[in-house]
């Protein structure tokens, strides 16, 4: 294909580096420096999309972030598909593969287009809400039809092969936008010695200067740009970020910058590089130099390919050497629109006419056009465009002075391109992100940034200042202001000489009237991507949707991927006219992040896959893995769940592990339990306040179990605490509760009882804990220590400091299984050494490693609770039948005491924890099952309580369960029923939760 619209010279493209790209299966050529859009225009591609609702052919309108139509699917492979890429922002690279997203069989000949033509009138705003209701049963069918039409591009089906990351940045001045204002600000701040970040969404700095033939100091403005960029890159404390969009402005001057590092090179990032990077910036001061977006005018059939905005036409000519047509008609309400005609003429193509809605406007640009002998039609407008897949001509008619009515006769002109300018809208998006409301300016004919609490400055186009000289000056001023604010001296900067042109007053006009009333005229599009028309907005207003938010939501205006950058202001103007209000009265729009869309991958950075969340390991983890353990996630910890042997089912493994503990000895890695070292003379008092039971008399060398409640009296954690010295204790917590308990202790110490002399330190990671339990555990321990561990010398609930397998250890004789047990704690650096010795020596005693599941079964046989499983934040110690663990003699009103005495906590018939024995011993009640008194009663049935723990007990040869029953502690022996999902009902008898060794003899031997 030839690039028929490419000029032979000029522009910032490199004609010596041709690139090949694919669009809808066809190959085309472009040049280095092209965007996908400029290359498509160079190749004369008119139709790039079919519209969302009416399926009308659409072409490229703009040349940047505001482009609503050229939204394509990118990607050469399945895994590298990217939906909804804006062709105007995608740099061309060799081998780029793109496709339009809607239209069947193709975007050029689309069947839906016919339906769009015919059914278009059936789809006013809100038509969904008014139909598809009858019959009710058919809604699902209607919806699936609607969903077929949904979406633009598609997600890949395969995993993303690229990586992304985030980096935290800090600076004195963050400058957003590298046009004349931004560059002047950056240069000033940099020379003043500030830490500066300047980011721009385009591939090179220069902003508007890249799109024009403007001169600075009598040389092309781009030479000044090059000089400034060169100087900036010499400062260590200046970070230059091209291809980087500042997408979010958050509270306290936190900004996010989305940097596209490799999207301009290929589909997939080169090895060892990240595709995109998020900069998380904390800036002392921010300078917004984001410029402005040109507004198209709203006129009949203004969506036909070939309708563009004037700034885009100039940009394609001056920057990319592409003239997007042959015969141009310009329609403008202001002087700037004339520039497109001048550039078009310079490019040697025909300017049919400049239609100025104003009467006799005189500015330097209008005069230049006159001197060039261009055909200027004043006080008139293009009221309608002819053509479907490309503009073929326009209808021009005179306008009333206000622009409200068409007057005079209609002349038709032949043209293939219509460039319009309704003025410019400052890019105030970022300034709105932190909740600041924009303010309308009649002189600017646009919204300006509103008052803000952020440390924010603005310069250039965002202030409605579109002359380069003014933009430069405002940039410099902002730079100096920022320097002063961060305590740096004024910088010495001389601005380049810029020619200031005389500009005639713009006309405040948005919606071009038609001969017919808007409701009957050909469609006049306000928001291209969402197919919102002026008529649609009028309908919304007529129906009573008068608040601008209502108008937007009812019509979907501004809800596209361009977020209404082109259309919103026009839409507000149309609504204002329909409601006889001014635009500010109609209300302002509030922009939210993101300024432009960001790949999910870029937002999550490295926190994906293996790094999504940490896996916490104990010192013995490697051993568990080697033994083929299955793991359970407990918090972030990986805990051995059970250790299956070849050919074993899970239940078989559990039975084997349980029996080993009951008949021989088992070993458990208990290192993950939270451990908190408590020191100070008031440690004991403190324990008494945070636990429900008594601690005053716990002797050195002894251990005690405790329950921890909230101020509401509900149990939230439990564990054993040992008295190491008169002023020294070590507390254990549940694995998941460790962090919370530590903060719980600190908050009470720091805010309520600072007078208590006590310090808390987390030592969870410091100690490795190997628990050996079972009748043979003493024999095993004896082999590895020369300390006398006999029952006389080492009693139940004692702890001793001894040497195990040559390693100094704290050994606690406490039991969670009901068997004789020793918890061996050693410094984690030696955990594996001791563990391996235990395994080695244990073989002859039938030592069997067991995991959390077996631990749960064994403790359930003993009726021991697990905080978090047998508690749910709604049960106090008495509900658990653990009144024995509450001391009301304590002088201090411990945490939970008052709470558990509130009226609802002391009432009868509370749900209480009991044991449950199934009538059929083989049946295991599924955990979570709900109890009822009469399974055959009508629903909803009153739920008596639920099963919190339930297992098969190989030891006892029958199932065991713990659960809650209303008033259960007084209902021993009574029967309850558990209806299951399959319709069957399990019958169970309420009993004590202690199923095994009720006297607790085995742990005492």
């Amino acid at each position: 294909m030839t690039q028929q619209n490419r000029l032979t010279s000029g522009g910032r493209i490199d004609r010596s580096t041709p690139l090949t790209f694919t669009y809808n299966g066809k190959q085309y050529k472009g040049f280095k420096g092209d965007t996908l859009a400029s290359a498509m225009l160079a190749n004369g591609i008119d139709v790039v999309a079919r519209s969302f609702k009416y399926s009308r052919p659409r072409g490229i309108v703009a040349c940047g972030a505001e482009e609503p139509n050229a939204v394509l699917q990118l990607g050469a492979t399945e895994a590298t598909q990217v939906p909804n890429v804006r062709a105007t922002q995608q740099e061309l690279f060799d081998g780029l593969v793109s496709a339009s997203t809607n239209g069947w069989p193709s975007v050029d000949t689309d069947v839906m287009g016919m339906i769009g033509k015919m059914g278009g009138n059936m789809m006013p705003p809100g038509f969904y809400y008014k139909t598809f209701m009858f019959p009710e049963s058919l809604w699902d069918t209607y919806e699936s039809m609607i969903r077929k039409a949904a979406g633009i591009g598609r997600a890949p089906k395969e995993k993303d092969p690229d990586t992304y990351d985030a980096i935290n940045q800090h600076c004195d001045v963050m400058i957003v936008g590298a046009g004349p204002a931004g560059l002047a600000a950056a240069l000033t701040a940099a020379r003043g010695g500030a830490r500066v970040i300047i980011a721009d969404e385009q591939n090179e700095f220069g902003g508007s200067l890249l799109n024009s033939t403007e001169q600075l100091d009598g040389k092309p403005a781009t030479e000044w740009v090059r000089a400034v960029v060169e100087e900036l890159s010499t400062y260590d404390d200046v970070l230059l970020l091209p291809r980087s969009t500042v997408n979010g402005y958050h509270d306290h001057n936190f900004l996010t910058i989305h940097e596209r590092r490799t999207d301009h090179l290929a589909d997939i990032a080169p090895v060892n590089t990240v595709r995109q990077r998020m900069h998380r910036v904390r800036a002392k001061w921010v300078v917004l130099a984001t410029g402005a977006h040109e507004r198209p005018l709203v006129y009949a059939n203004n969506d036909v390919p070939g309708c563009m905005i004037t700034g885009a036409v100039s940009a394609y000519i001056n920057r990319y050497g592409v003239v997007p047509g042959n015969e141009l008609v310009v329609m403008t309400t202001n002087d700037y629109g004339y520039q497109a005609a001048l550039d078009w003429a310079d490019a040697g193509r025909k300017v049919v006419a400049i239609v100025d809605t104003r009467e006799a406007a005189v500015g330097d640009r209008t005069e230049a056009a006159r001197q060039r002998g261009l055909n200027i039609i004043s006080g008139s407008a293009v009221i309608e465009v002819q053509g479907t897949k490309r503009v073929t001509g326009v209808s021009v008619a005179g306008l009333s002075a206000s622009g409200a009515k068409v007057i005079g006769s209609v002349t038709k002109l032949k043209a293939d391109t219509v460039a319009t300018s309704g003025g410019w809208s400052p890019v105030i998006h970022l300034s709105c992100h932190t909740g600041s409301r924009p303010v309308w300016s009649d002189s600017v004919v646009g919204f300006l940034p509103g008052p803000t609490v952020q440390k924010q400055l603005t310069a250039g186009g965002i202030n409605g200042q579109y002359e380069t000289a003014v933009a430069l000056q405002e940039g410099l001023d902002a730079g100096q202001k920022a320097l002063a604010e961060v305590g740096l001296a004024v910088a010495d900067v001389v601005l380049p000489e810029a020619k200031t042109l005389k500009v005639a007053a713009p006309m405040s006009l948005f919606h071009i009237p038609h001969l017919k009333p808007t409701s009957q005229a050909p469609k006049q599009f306000v928001d291209y991507q969402t197919d919102v028309t002026a008529a649609g907005i009028e309908i919304a207003c007529r129906e009573g949707f008068e608040a601008i938010e209502h108008v937007k939501r009812y019509t979907a205006m501004g809800f596209g991927t361009d977020q209404g950058k082109l259309g919103n202001i026009n839409g507000m103007a149309v609504a204002a006219k329909a409601l006889n209000k001014t635009i500010p009265e109609t209300g302002t729009t509030v922009f939210r992040p993101n300024y432009t869309p960001i790949a999910f991958g870029a937002i999550i950075g490295r926190n994906a896959g293996a790094l999504f969340e940490p896996e916490r390991y104990t010192a013995m983890h490697k051993w568990h893995v080697e033994q083929g353990a299955m793991f359970e996630d407990v918090g972030q910890w990986k805990r051995p769940w059970y250790y299956p042997q070849k050919g074993e089912s899970m239940q078989q493994s559990l039975n084997r592990e349980c029996m080993a503990v009951r008949n021989a000895v088992g070993i458990l890695d208990a290192s993950t339990l939270g451990k908190i070292d408590v020191q100070g003379k008031d440690a004991r008092e403190f324990l008494g306040r945070v636990y429900s039971n008594a601690w005053a008399k716990l002797a050195i060398g002894k251990c005690r179990y405790g329950l921890m409640c909230g101020e509401d009296g509900m149990v939230f954690d439990d564990g054993v605490t040992a008295c190491l010295g008169e002023n020294h204790f070590v507390m254990t917590t549940t694995t998941g509760g460790a962090a919370h308990v530590y903060e719980w202790l600190e908050i009470y110490h720091q805010t309520e009882w600072p007078e208590l002399e006590v310090y808390f330190n987390t030592v969870t990671d410091h100690w490795s804990t190997a628990t050996i339990t079972g009748p043979n555990s003493r024999k095993l321990l004896e082999e590895l220590t020369d300390f006398d561990v006999s029952n006389d010398n080492f009693r139940y609930m004692d702890w001793k400091q001894i040497t195990v397998a040559g390693v100094p250890a704290r050994v606690f004789r406490i039991s969670f299984t009901g068997e004789l047990s020793f918890e061996i704690n050693v410094q984690a650096n030696y955990g594996m050494a001791v563990w391996e010795k235990l395994i080695e020596a244990g073989a002859k005693y039938g030592l069997t490693p067991y995991g959390t599941e077996t631990m749960h079964v064994l403790r359930a046989e003993k009726g021991f609770i697990i905080a978090g499983q047998d508690t749910d934040g709604s049960v106090h110690p008495y509900d658990l039948g653990m009144g024995w663990c509450v001391s009301n003699q304590k002088p201090f009103s411990y945490i939970g005491k008052r709470g558990m005495n509130r009226s609802d906590c002391t009432r009868a018939n509370r749900k209480q924890l009991v044991g449950l024995k199934t009538k059929d011993p083989k049946q295991v009640i599924p955990e979570g099952s709900a109890a009822v008194l009469d399974p055959n009663g009508p629903k909803p049935l009153e739920i008596q309580g639920h099963i919190s723990s339930s297992y098969w007990s190989e030891t006892l040869g029958h199932s065991i369960a713990m659960g809650f029953i209303k008033g259960g502690l007084d209902k021993m022996g009574e029967t309850v029923y558990y209806p299951l999902g399959d319709g069957t009902v399990i019958e169970a008898e309420i009993c004590s939760p202690i199923f095994f060794d009720p006297k607790g003899e085995r742990q005492n031997v």
């Binding site: 609490v453 805010t751 008052r898």
Partner: protein, 94 residues
């Protein structure tokens, strides 16, 4: 994202290092047993929840692990001041 000055570390840190522990200056009743259910309920659950200036308790969880108070505007999110436990605010919410 709030930027918070830790009065203990003496510098600004990112919000990610902190977390908010709710309304500040809620003292635990000295004699819980003397409280009615209503009074205990208010201590446990009822809060000022103002739109505007608010005194909050924060902890520098990933830093020095110390608690401190903050006076913050819940509408604009401006932090007026931070002050240590036991100290009184100089800007007071009505």
């Amino acid at each position: 994202m709030l930027h918070i000055y830790c009065p203990h570390c003496g510098e600004y840190r990112e919000e990610e290092e902190f977390h908010c522990a709710g309304q500040a200056h809620i003292a635990r009743p000295l004699e819980p047993e003397a409280c009615s259910d209503q009074e205990w309920g208010e201590y446990l659950f009822f809060r000022k929840n103002p739109r505007g200036l608010h005194h909050e308790l924060w902890v520098h969880a990933a830093g020095c692990r110390k608690f401190f108070n903050m006076t913050r505007d819940t509408q604009s999110y401006e932090i007026k001041e931070v002050y240590k436990i036991g100290e009184q605010p100089s800007v007071v919410a009505e």
